[in-house]
Symmetry: C2
Subunit: 432 residues, 2 copies
Amino acid sequence: MNIELAASKAKNAAIRMAALKSDLKNAALEAVAQALVNNEDAIIAANTRDLEAAKKADLAPALQKRLKFDCAKIKETCDGLRSLINLPEPVGQTLSATELTKGLELYKVTSPIGVIGVIFESRPDALVQISSLCLKSSNACLLKGGAEAANTNRILADTIYKASVSAGLPEGWLTLVETRQGVMDMLKLDRSIDLLIPRGSNEFVRYIMDNTNIPVMGHAAGICHVYIDKSADLDMAVNITVDSKCQYTAVCNAAETLLVHELIAPAFLPRIKAALQEKGVEIRGDDRTCGIITANHATDEDWATEYLDSIISIKVVPNIAAAIDHINTYSSKHTDAIVTADKAAAAQFMEMVDSADVFWNASTRFADGFRFGLGAEVGISTSKIHARGPVGLEGLVIYKYKLIGTGQIVADYTGPNAKKYTHAPLKKDFEL
Amino acid sequence: MNIELAASKAKNAAIRMAALKSDLKNAALEAVAQALVNNEDAIIAANTRDLEAAKKADLAPALQKRLKFDCAKIKETCDGLRSLINLPEPVGQTLSATELTKGLELYKVTSPIGVIGVIFESRPDALVQISSLCLKSSNACLLKGGAEAANTNRILADTIYKASVSAGLPEGWLTLVETRQGVMDMLKLDRSIDLLIPRGSNEFVRYIMDNTNIPVMGHAAGICHVYIDKSADLDMAVNITVDSKCQYTAVCNAAETLLVHELIAPAFLPRIKAALQEKGVEIRGDDRTCGIITANHATDEDWATEYLDSIISIKVVPNIAAAIDHINTYSSKHTDAIVTADKAAAAQFMEMVDSADVFWNASTRFADGFRFGLGAEVGISTSKIHARGPVGLEGLVIYKYKLIGTGQIVADYTGPNAKKYTHAPLKKDFEL
């Protein structure tokens, strides 16, 4: 496949998608849902081929489980499409309106980004979720899924594309990229691809960030912290730590490091050690931690490591400022939580921890588009611009300024006899 | 100067700036205004040295004029600072609030970006404007101004820094970078600098974009178009074209290419030729243009050229779709205007032209932060993410998610007996 040609077609499609009406896009999403149900047998047959190959290749059982796309998954996916239909239209919303001068009105209106390249892992439902988010937000897309799901992805992309184009989406709006070389080709296309969203291993995301001029939205790592302040409720602190670390260790919003205020450490550390050991978690502590409980010694490398496994590093800190400093040094700016009964400490933590998600008395595992109520998510961003944290429809749009005049020229508003600007806020939405 | 050290200090300062209250920041801006007035003599003396050097070096008169920083400029700058004080606080604004479940509240709250590197041209007032926008939005900054204004920039940066730190800004929040090598050093500091805003020549901005992993906001070129639709009012079309091209040719929002619908070309081209020739503008036309008026022949290169001079390229197009297609191919996504009496044509143009600013019946020269009523602007962006068009305070903030719980853990909301999420919108602002 010629990726440059596909991207160029996507660019043309994106221009036309910007003018699509809500009704047409929602009807297309409904057509996609129906087509998935109509193609159920063929989709499951394709998925069975992927599952058999995965079994032969002796893939980890967790990966095999994630690969599965059966009747229940298709139903769940269609439910997701219908909730997306019910979400408000993200494009064409007026963010602000100003009269610059009589008869000259400026509107800041949401608009699609253009062409988005998404590289995602081996869950076939991710393909449906991402492509439908792009459709709803009028963005053309190039999608590359995991190689293990190749057969399932191919039939899903084909089903979505045909149903949506029949419903009025422009040709070329969606392309499935099927090779790693295709991804490498995408990295060079900064004239036609407007945004890349890579999901996957740290090394892979980092590689993409380092090898393209296209803006990248995503997260390379999820080094999340839980800080137990001196006034924390001990039961709550144990609960939140165990949930943040153990509820699902293989994901980016799981905690990797626990910071403990020195005044509460003697009471808290023996309790958390017992609770974590019950879950089979290895503890790596700094010197002060190991002075209170028996544990393996943490090295400097531990503070910068995303275990994605049943391992936790623990450090005793003299005060909240030291906790904030440690987090701002080692955190991947994803999600960090404080457990405390002290409102002022919580406020300080939430203002000064430089991460996308800052939580007070809640598990880091809540950092997720569905749990946040965003509908679906296209990814999680640790960038400092555009969109942070779980990214839903809002992160897939930008805005443009639309100015409506009646022949105004700047020369009349310049110099000694310049007419004046009014800059009066308008209470109306853009409409033509 | 060690730029890495300065950037690291700026990062520490940025963390503390995120927690600064509005009153303190506004008092600091007022202190800066007073210090500028108090240091008036020294500032003017430094500026005189720059002006003398510029005269000796035989700098273009326009550049010498822009370099000047006298009593009137200081007063204007202080007026600017006071309007900035009166603008609403950009940080800590609640963008949305949702109850995830009873006792678990999610707030999306605006926050500073962190450390911003700005490289700007030789207008000393730009230094005051940019640093004060960063202060108001709680961003630390590294600033590099034009070498011609070195003496003026030094005393201005020194005055601003001392006054603001005395008023409570953290040490290291502002650093003046004085060498080109300093800029090169900045490009590597993607761990401490969150955003680069380069202003200057195309080649320079393009060089920065191509040589850093730090996100870049700005525009490399301003190839702006005026399209005269078949139903345009001829007087308005002449006025808007002349203003867009001639009101100030050396700037990015000046028009470089004129597109003319074939049905109006025979009536319009002779009139615009006369009007442009009166202003001394060279016309380069495509074959069809040259079939109607006498003009130099345009080559393909002309469509992709930002003249920044008294030259305009003209192309006759068969319809609005061809105009939109030409613009989306050659425009720098800055500002493009349509002149038409047809509302449907205007709507089509404004939806499908993929530029930051799309104007109907108004001059491209209105694309400017002051004219848009944003207060000051830190630059103009042709990016497709984060911020587009003239960028004021809003483009200097991002958001973070603040979650307030009462001990909730994800395990309770998972599996067969999962508690339910409520996802109910909250009508309140974040407050602790």
